[in-house]
């Protein structure tokens, strides 16, 4: 456990050197401006427009960062061969992998929490009401991004960063398609594609479960049972994909 935490900490140090936190600061600055920019347009329902734009931006940030961090979690150590001296020590491969994964997930959580806090504060000031419920949107974004990072790491145990990035993006696109969309549009124009989407959705997570943005924007009541089930579903998928990555990495010929 101590070694695992050390690997995670090393990952944070490495990312600090790569100036990931600078990117988070830029995203935070953007979030601080957006609610005021939207309200200054004088749109009728500017509360909803502000929340919508902010949560959409945060969603893109979580997906992009999750996939980016997941792709680059293993690849640099494998390419520069710095993994071999690490594994020459009395440390199992699984400790290294879980440590890197923990580093990715906590880094993503830290960045999203910081950017989300700025977003909530800016929205609360601009809209003159408490926007604390948006914290649930931040948590849902983190779950989605962490799961995508784990998928990218799973693919990254066998392939390069480009393939793992494309695969994670593909999983996100297909897993996020709603049945209503597939039935209403896709199945009418291309039945083969609709069938493929349904077949793939049997074995990949449903990212639509984490898309609670519309409920938060329109202040729809979200039942505590749904929120609890969403967290349970996301975390179980996260552990499952991480375990598959551990299994795949343990069988890789280094």
């Amino acid at each position: 456990m101590k070694k695992l935490l050390k690997i995670a900490r090393l990952y944070h140090v490495e990312m600090a050197r790569r100036q990931v936190y600078l990117m988070a600061a830029l995203a935070g600055a953007c979030m601080a401006v957006v609610p005021f920019a939207v309200t200054s347009f004088g749109m009728g329902a500017f509360e909803r427009a502000s929340r919508d734009v902010c949560l959409t931006l945060l969603g893109f940030l979580s997906v992009g960062l999750g996939i980016g961090l997941g792709c680059s979690a293993l690849a640099p150590d494998l390419e520069r061969r710095t993994l071999h001296p690490l594994l020459a020590r009395p440390m199992p491969r699984s400790t290294y992998l879980w440590g890197r994964l923990l580093g990715v997930i906590t880094l993503l959580g830290g960045v999203l929490l910081a950017v989300g806090a700025v977003m909530i504060l800016a929205c609360s000031i601009a809209l003159r009401e408490s926007e604390l419920p948006l914290l649930l949107g931040v948590a849902a974004c983190w779950l989605e991004g962490a799961l995508l990072a784990a998928i990218a790491v799973l693919v990254g145990t066998r392939f390069g960063p480009v393939v793992s990035g494309v695969t994670a993006t593909f999983a996100w696109l297909v897993g996020g398609l709603s049945a209503a969309y597939v039935d209403a549009f896709l199945s009418r124009s291309n039945q083969f594609a609709a069938g493929m989407v349904y077949a793939l959705q049997l074995v990949i997570p449903h990212f639509q479960m984490f898309h609670v943005k519309n409920a938060l924007v329109h202040r729809d009541p979200l039942s505590p049972a749904y929120v609890g089930a969403m967290f349970c579903y996301g975390l179980v998928w996260l552990v499952f994909v991480s375990y598959l990555a551990d299994w795949s990495f343990s069988r890789r010929d280094l």
Binding site: G175, S178, A179, A180, Y181, D183, Y198, A199, Q201, L202, V203, I204, P205, H206, Q208, M209, V212, N214, A215, D220, L222, S223, A225, Y226, G228, A229, M230, C232, Y233, V236, W237, V239, F240, Y243, W247
Partner: protein, 69 residues
């Protein structure tokens, strides 16, 4: 890998056999259900059921992995 593929195939077949259009690993909706999942009263129970199935798969996989080592 053989075992993994067999498990996925079994899950897909069990999903196809279900009359209500749901599956253990992801396809939740009856085809006519609305797009917003939080509006559906049965959704938390479905998600928890899927999580339980996934946990079962995880435990089975871990046991098989330990035995094969």
């Amino acid at each position: 890998m053989r075992w993994l593929l067999a498990m996925l195939l079994a899950l897909s077949l069990s999903a196809a056999a279900r009359a209500d259009g749901t599956s253990p690993l992801g396809v939740y909706y009856h085809r006519q259900w609305a797009a917003a999942p939080w509006h559906l009263p049965g959704m938390p129970a479905t998600m928890l059921r899927d999580s339980a199935v996934l946990c079962g798969l995880l435990v089975g996989f871990a046991l098989w992995r330990r035995r094969s080592q």
